[in-house]
Symmetry: C2
Subunit: 87 residues, 2 copies
Amino acid sequence: MYYVVVYDVNVDRVNEVKKVFREYMDWIQNSVFEGQLTRSEKEKLEGRIKEIIDTSEDMVVFYSTRAEKYLDKEVLGVEKSPTGTVI
Amino acid sequence: MYYVVVYDVNVDRVNEVKKVFREYMDWIQNSVFEGQLTRSEKEKLEGRIKEIIDTSEDMVVFYSTRAEKYLDKEVLGVEKSPTGTVI
């Protein structure tokens, strides 16, 4: 599956969350990652993130499609990390 | 088309960008909106956002799929705005 992850996490935990995501996915912009994950990679990643976040305060969203080709991407402005097309 | 928008915009412009997105889409969390847009709504929205942002510094990403059903969504932690399922 192809994933786009966005998160809104307390400043005390956000760096640790970012470090874990960097191991599995591509950094796109502040609090946004993209990448292909197998089921087991996703489960491992999810488990590690759950250990860090406070589920009563933080929010992490995994958007996914069966493959990257099913997800169109358009960027306005500067590409903070060159993985997509620019309008 | 169903859209997820994420943005990484300078603090001087971010409130104005947020205000415009609120007119067209649902606020999900910090710098993330979701919603169904027709082609003309998308064009209008894009035009208004381009007038606000500094394209040499800010980044706005429009992810889209043909319909919401093609985009799976999983939320870890608290749902900051109740439009999806929680794991």
